[in-house]
Amino acid sequence: MFEIVRREEMAKGTVILNEIEAPRIARKAEPGQFVILKANETGERIPLTMADTDPERGTITVIYMVVGRSTALFRELRVGEGYQDMIGPLGRSAHLERVGTVVCVGGGTGVAVLYPITRGLKQLGNRVISIIGARTKDLLILDDEMKAISDELHVCTDDGSYGHHGFVTDVLKTVLEEEVVELAVAVGPVLMMKFVSEITRPYNIKTLVSLNPIMIDGTGMCGGCRVSVGGENKFACIDGPEFDGHKVDFDQLMQRLQAYRQEEIQSLEAHRCKLEP
C-alpha cells in the first residue's frame, strides 16, 4: 500500500491534495512527470501529474479534482489509508531552461501541475509571469504558492468573484501585447491549452502544454494515450506528457477524452449510494 501522509481539501472539497509515501518515486521524480494510481482491487488506473515531491520525506503529492467514479473513490481515502497501487515516475520531465521571460498559464487543477514547472523555471533565473484562473473564487487553488514563485501573478475568475473578471486567455493577450515573452507553458482544460496555443502562435512563442489523455499502463504498451502532434502519432505516456502546443491536435484529443463518457456516468451512478451517504 502507498500510504497517504497528508490530505487537504481545496476548492470547497472539490479538489483533493494527497501527499503519498513513495520513497523510490520521490527520489526520481522531476517536474512534469506523472504517476498512475489505483485505489483498490477493482479500481481503475488513473494517471495524475505530480504537483510536488519531497525526496527527503520520501513523498510525492498529487492534487486532483473529483470528477468521476475513480476520483470520488480517491476522495474517500484518509490519512493512514492509501492506494493499493502506484507507479512512477512516468513520462518525460518538463523542459526547463533559462530563456528570459516566461508566461505560465494554469486553469483549474492544471495549476497543480503547473506549479512545479513554474518553480523550476523560476529557479533557473527566468522572469516568471503567471496567469491562473478558475470558474469562481472558491475553486481557485495554489494562488499563494504561485504568487511566491512568480514575479507577477494574475488571477482570473470566470464570474469575476476574484481578480480579473474573465478568462486566463484575456490576460494572456494583454501580457503579450506589453511584454517580450520567450516561452509559454499552459496546463489546464484542453480547451484552455488550445486557446493559449492559438494566442501565442502569431507571436511565435514556444508554447508547452501538459496533456493527460486516457491511458492504462503508462509505459507505452497500450497506445491509448496517442496524440497527434505535428501530424505524427505520439504516446503521451512516454513521449510526453509535455508537447509543443502549436502542434497538438487538441480537437482530436478532446474527442478521445470523451471516449468513455457514457460508461463514466454509468459507473458513477452504480456506486453513488456508496459514495454519498
Binding site: 497501487d85 515516475p89 512516454i238 460508461e263 454509468q266
Partner: protein
Amino acid sequence: MAEKEPVKEKIPRVVMPEQRPDIRRRNFDEVPLGYTSEMAVEEASRCLQCKRPPCVAGCPVDIDIPAFIGHIRAGDFDEAIKKILEKNRLPAICGRVCPQETQCEIRCVLGKKGEPVAIGNLERFAADFARINGIEGAPPRQKPTGKRVAVVGSGPAGLTVAGDLIAKGHEVTVFEAFHKPGGVLVYGIPEFRLPKEIVFAEVALLDKDGVDIECNMVVGRTVTLDELFDEGYDAIFLGVGAGLPRFMDIPGENLVGIMSANEYLTRANLMKAYRFPEYDTPIPRGKNVAVLGAGNVAMDAARTAIRLGADEARIVYRRSRQEMPARAAEIHHAEEEGIEFLFLTNPKRFLGDDSGHVIGMECLRMELGEPDASGRRRPVPIEGSEFELGCDLVVVAVGSGANPLLTNSIKDLVLNRWGYIEADPETGKTSLDGVWAGGDIVTGSATVILAMGAGRKAADSMHEYLTGGRRLS
C-alpha cells in the same frame, strides 16, 4: 520405466470436453473443461513410451514427456507432476497455451499414421490435479548460495528464470511494472483461454519457494539497473516482453473506437473490464467489431468482442486462410463461436462520424503475389477494389515492436536495428556484464514456451556465472 505394451494405436485420441460454442460465446469461463482422471489414464495409455522419444526434442524446456505420461497411465498423478516440475514450473499454463501441435505433438510417432498423443492435455491434467489436490512436487531447494538475482518482468521468461534460480539456491526478486504478476499471461491472454486464477496459483508457488515478487516497479524509471547492482544484486535478467503496439498508420486511426489489441485485452483481462461496472475500468462494447490481423492475439480479441456482446466480430486479414499465424485450435474455436473471417482484405482508411467515433473502414481487396521475406506470398492490393465495411469498434492486432522504456534507460546495452536486445541465443547474455535477457524483448513477439525456453537457458548461464563468480564468455 513402464514395460512396453503392444501398440494400441486403435484407441482414438481422447477429446477434451469443451463448453458448447453457443453457450461459451457469451461467457468468460474457460472453454476446454479438462480431462477426468479416467480420460487422462486412457489418453496416457496411447503413448508408445518410445526409448528415444522424439517429442522431448520438440520441447523447449526438455520435459521428460514419456516419463510423466507413464506415471499418468499408472494412475500415479503425484509422480507425474513431480516429473514435469523438474523441468517446467508453469505446467498448468503451458498445458493450456503452448502450441504443442508444432512442438512436441508434431513429433509423436503416433502422429505419422493417426493422431499424436495429447501431450498438452495431459500436462494440463497433471498440473490441475496437483493444484486442486494440493500436491506439491517442486524439486527441493539447493542450499543457499548467498547470491541475489533481479528479474525484470514477470511474464513467462522471467518466471522461468525465477523458478530455476530459486531452486538452485539463489535469492530472487522479480520486478513487475503492472500491479499484478504474470505479464502477458495476465494482461494479454483472456480468461476463457487461461484463467487468471491459474496464473496466480503458479506464481504463488514460486512465492512460496521464496521468490520475492515486487509489483508496481517500473525498472528504468522507479529504479535503474545500476541502482539494482548497487543494492546488491549480483545478476539481472531482463524479460520485459515486446510491449509496443503496432498500428496501421493509415488515416483516421485516432478515431474513438480504434485501439490496439494490447489496450483492448489489457482492459478486458488485467483490469477485468468485462465485469464493468463491478470493476471500474470500462471497455467499449462494440456491436460490429473488426479485428485487424490473424494471429493468436487477433483471435483472442475477436472472441473477447463476441463475449462482450458483439453481434458481429470479424477478423480482417490481408492474406488468405493458409497464411494465418494463429494456432489452428484458436482459429477453430473462433469459427465455432461465430467469428467471421474476411481474407485478402486490408483497410485503407478509417471512417468516422462528427463526434470522432469510428463508423467503418474503407478496405481494399488483395491478391497474393510473389513470396516475401517471410516466405509467405505477399499480399498486393487490387486496384479499384475499394469497398466500405461498417464497424463501431476496431481492434488493431498486427503485432508489436520493442518498447524502448527500459532499454533506453540502460547505457551501453546493445540493441539490434529493431530495438530488441542483442542476446546470445545459447546463453541469453547481453552486451553488459551481469545482465541477461530473454523472451519477446530479444526475439520479438513469439510464444509463451519459447520465452520460457529462453529463460531456462539464461538461468543456466546465470547460475554458472553466479557460482563461478566470473564472467564466462
